[in-house]
């Protein structure tokens, strides 16, 4: 029960601080908020401001619990002191017909029923895939470090983390489910804002129905009760839209400040949500027809967004990491990873976009989560184009829909939903009974047992979790049904503090304090996994030598140039070792040599380290102009250059060039003879040795991982010692250097 109360308190304290800070800001900006608008809009505005304060605390590396508590308490005291906390007086209740009362009762009952379901799930121990993975894994890591640090082994740390900044103080007090409850508060705020918007435009039933259509949607339910950020992004976007509407009504320049802050916070919350910032700038420019208001919005937005840009610039040498790595080249995220990742996100392996319709509407097994078939009615929202509010809603809705195709996961539709459901509700409002039936139908189909029946593979809530929420079932007991939780525990138990673990799949990082290096989540990770794969996968091993032979001559600087256009986008150029020879004797590699490569200059030493378990890779599609360049620092007599390489870049064509005394490159040999190569050292021992040199002494392999049997079959051939095996996974320790005998035992 103590844990349950801590979670609730952590979340409530954070939410109260957001509301308080937003109330103070709203009062200073004299935002013309009505009673029903005050909580949602003040909460969203306060969330934006508080996120910046937490960012500053992390940047200063003073994220200790007392500091975080002070950061939450100060706004609350401030708002209480000034009285800004209070809600404005409301109007009296309108007179209602019997039908109105019936609809009110129905809508209220549905909302209450789902709120209980959602609250119990958000309050229960958190175990959503990304929530217990990187969202809270990074929060926990920042808390351990008391501030930001470069997490080069997890590219997710380069995404903006505006919502996670609010998870952080909640997590510090109430751990994982406190963060999920904070996200749930965004869902409540979104629904209340939509409700208030309906009242503002004098279409209260449309507002209520639109809000419910979003609130009840299965993917919104599971996302909004997990430590994710999609629902928060939707709330922020709707908040921007709402404030823009108020600005248009009131033409009060101070509102532009709030618009800018919230628009910038949309970028800070989620890159894709920044669509609303574009909409805001466009609308302000269109309506004001002056530059000054646009600059005001842009400047306030920059205040919220720029810290994330700068953080990425400092930590990842790329202001918009993890994207554009081909422009902002850096050693942390490879262009090849970005290409593969973004192309996967654009289709999730589906062959056509038409397949998305059954996926997101009722199947949800690939794109994770469903909207529910009742939302097939959304196109009727176009009928709302007849009215100004309908037109206004459909523009941001369409913008978010367009952005959706960058990541077709169902939850990436959430930011567009408030706009689209409100448009639909507006269109159907003249036929109120139809609208009521649609809401009731959606409520019935979205209830977890119904969803499980029709969409058994969808990511969705299972049922209410009262016992788990109140910790009548302990967290351990509740989470024991998830095998990943046991695997994280295994790592926590067997890997000493500060230990680093190479893994080949995601783990719930938030439940272990050890650093998990997932094979695809960073350039270093990819390099480590590549070394291990070279240990057993034939096509990655050095099995051929490309030999450039030429009459002996004195050379000072040489480069190997890639000349082919390679159509297979996955084909990279790679080289295990480059060796220079004269009279069949290899030139010793002197410290005066200077090595360069393009692209990926950071790994060039891996082609000159005498280890066949490492290789330089271009980490982008092979194309003409790529090179490896060696400056000997003095003239060396050379008659042969040998490139030891694998079979996985068959279309690469190379030319050997030397630099003449005028600094021009001249061809030494325009093709290489291919010879077979058989390496008789141990690639496996060499691979684990390289891991050890990089501070990685543990390898975690699931039985289903690629190559799992190669590790389990004879771990001693790798210098690995099996230290635990459970829940379908094995944890190995790399035997300390020189103690291979130990691993044999």
């Amino acid at each position: 029960m103590k844990d349950a109360l801590a979670a609730l308190f952590g979340a409530a304290f954070t939410v109260a601080a957001c509301y308080a800070l937003g109330s103070v800001a709203a009062a200073r900006l004299r935002l013309p908020l009505r009673r029903q608008e005050k909580f949602p809009l003040a909460f969203l505005l306060g969330a934006a401001c508080l996120h910046l304060a937490i960012f500053a605390i992390l940047a200063l590396k003073i994220a200790y619990t007392p500091v975080l508590i002070a950061a939450l308490a100060i706004p609350i005291v401030w708002a209480a002191w000034t009285g800004d906390w209070r809600l404005p007086p409301g109007k009296g209740a309108p007179s209602r017909s019997l039908f109105d009362w019936a609809v009110l009762l129905l809508f209220g009952g549905i909302a209450l029923w789902y709120t209980v379901l959602y609250l119990s799930n958000a309050w229960a121990p958190e175990f959503s895939p990304d929530g217990s993975g990187y969202h809270l894994g990074l929060v926990a890591r920042y808390l351990r470090a008391h501030g930001f640090e470069r997490v080069e082994t997890n590219f997710y740390s380069s995404l903006s983390e505006g919502v996670e900044m609010l998870f952080l103080p909640a997590f510090a007090i109430g751990k994982h489910s406190a963060a999920a409850l904070v996200h749930f508060a965004f869902l409540i705020a979104l629904a209340l804002a939509m409700l208030a918007y309906g009242k503002r435009i004098e279409k209260p039933w449309a507002g209520a129905a639109g809000a419910l259509l979003v609130y009840l949607t299965p993917v919104v339910g599971i996302d909004g009760t997990s430590a994710y950020n999609d629902v928060a992004a939707a709330g922020i976007a709707f908040g921007v839209f709402y404030l823009l509407e108020l600005w248009e009504l009131q033409q009060e320049p101070r509102i532009l400040i709030a618009i800018g802050l919230l628009a910038g916070y949309s970028y800070a919350a989620k890159y894709t949500a920044a669509v609303i910032a574009i909409y805001a700038l466009g609308l302000v420019a269109w309506k004001a027809r002056r530059l000054k208001p646009v600059i005001a919005v842009a400047a306030c937005a920059a205040l919220m967004a720029l810290p994330w840009v700068i953080k990425n610039w400092i930590y990842f040498q790329n202001p918009i990491a993890p994207f554009a790595n081909g422009i902002f080249r850096n050693p942390y995220i490879t262009p090849d990873f970005e290409r593969g990742w973004t192309s996967y996100l654009a289709n999730y392996g589906l062959k056509t976009r038409w397949e998305l319709i059954p996926e997101v509407m009722w199947r949800g097994s690939i794109t994770a989560g469903i909207l529910g078939v009742a939302l097939f009615a959304l196109p009727l929202g176009f009928l709302a184009l007849r009215w100004r509010p309908g037109r206004r809603l459909l523009i941001p809705g369409a913008l978010f829909l367009a952005a959706y195709f960058g990541n077709v996961g169902t939850r990436f539709l959430i930011p567009s939903l408030p706009f689209l459901t409100l448009a639909l509700a507006l269109a159907l409002e003249p036929l109120l009974p139809v609208l009521v039936l649609l809401v009731a139908f959606h409520a019935w189909l979205s209830w977890p047992p119904q969803v499980r029946r029709h969409s058994p593979d969808a990511w969705t809530l299972q049922h209410a979790q009262f016992r788990a929420a109140l910790r009548r079932v302990s967290q351990d007991q509740f989470l024991s049904r998830f095998w990943e939780y046991h695997q994280a525990h295994m790592i926590e138990k067997y890997v000493p503090e500060g230990g680093r673990v190479l893994a080949f799949g995601n783990l719930p990082d938030a439940y272990t304090s050890r650093e998990i290096i997932v094979s695809f989540q960073g350039a270093l990770n990819t390099r480590l996994a590549d070394m291990m794969n070279i240990g057993w996968a034939e096509s990655f091993q050095p099995t051929r030598v490309l030999v450039f032979s030429f009459p002996e001559r004195g050379l000072r600087r040489v480069r190997i140039l890639q000349t082919a256009r390679v159509s297979n986008v996955e084909e990279q150029w790679s080289v295990h070792e480059v060796r220079f020879a004269h009279a069949k004797q290899e030139l010793p590699r002197r410290g005066e040599w200077r090595l360069r490569a393009f692209p990926n200059p950071w790994d060039v030493q891996m082609a000159f380290d005498n280890s066949e378990a490492t290789r330089w890779r271009s980490y982008e599609n092979a194309r003409p102009g790529m090179y490896i360049d060696v400056d000997f620092g003095r003239e060396e007599i050379v008659d042969q250059v040998r490139l030891e390489t694998s079979q996985d870049d068959p279309d690469v064509r190379l030319r050997l060039e030397a630099m003449d005394e005028h600094g021009n490159w001249t061809t030494l040999a325009d093709h290489a003879k291919v010879e077979p190569m058989k390496y008789d050292g141990s690639l496996r021992l060499a691979a684990t040795h390289e891991l050890h040199l990089r501070g990685v002494d543990y390898v975690f392999v699931r039985d289903s991982d690629w190559g799992a049997s190669e590790y389990s079959g004879l771990p001693q051939s790798w210098g690995l010692k099996r230290i635990a095996h459970d829940w379908g996974a094995t944890l190995y320790r790399i035997a300390p250097e020189g103690s291979i005998e130990e691993s044999k035992r």
Partner: protein, 174 residues
Amino acid sequence: MKWIAIAGAALALCGCQNMPEPYAPPVQRQRFENFQPYRVNRVLNMADPDARDHFVQDIADKLEGTWRWTAQRPTVSLTPASNQHLLYSIEFTIPKVTFQETGPVTISFYVNDHLLERKFYPEAGHYVFEKPVPPEWVPLDKPSILAAEIDKVLAPKDEDRKYGFVLVKLGFAE
């Protein structure tokens, strides 16, 4: 225009990246003696990223989860690290969809064109077959060809392909 120019210049400056200075050769690694015995097996899972590099014929390019359709004689090429104590190992399914058309089938298992065994399968279902391979059939340091030939295949008239069985893995085990 001035603001756009400033923003453009700022963006261009972002592109002026901190490319590293040239590197000196690193500490040279020592060779690790090959630890013997390596596990000699090489079972090709159809879902392995490099699986297609080993296909010789009659295995579909398209991966269906963890399996692929075969035609009549799916064949792979593998180089085991030893020829001692090897097992021919195959995991496959005779699906109902083909069985309804072909009825009971016989599958012949080959290593380098040597017939290892011919087995009769009277029912559709999931099967694993393993049998020791005589060492003399497997040359060292050369690829070996493993095949499994089904006697009857499904050949839909409207498709330019044949359906033999569903292959999950094939290779040498210990």
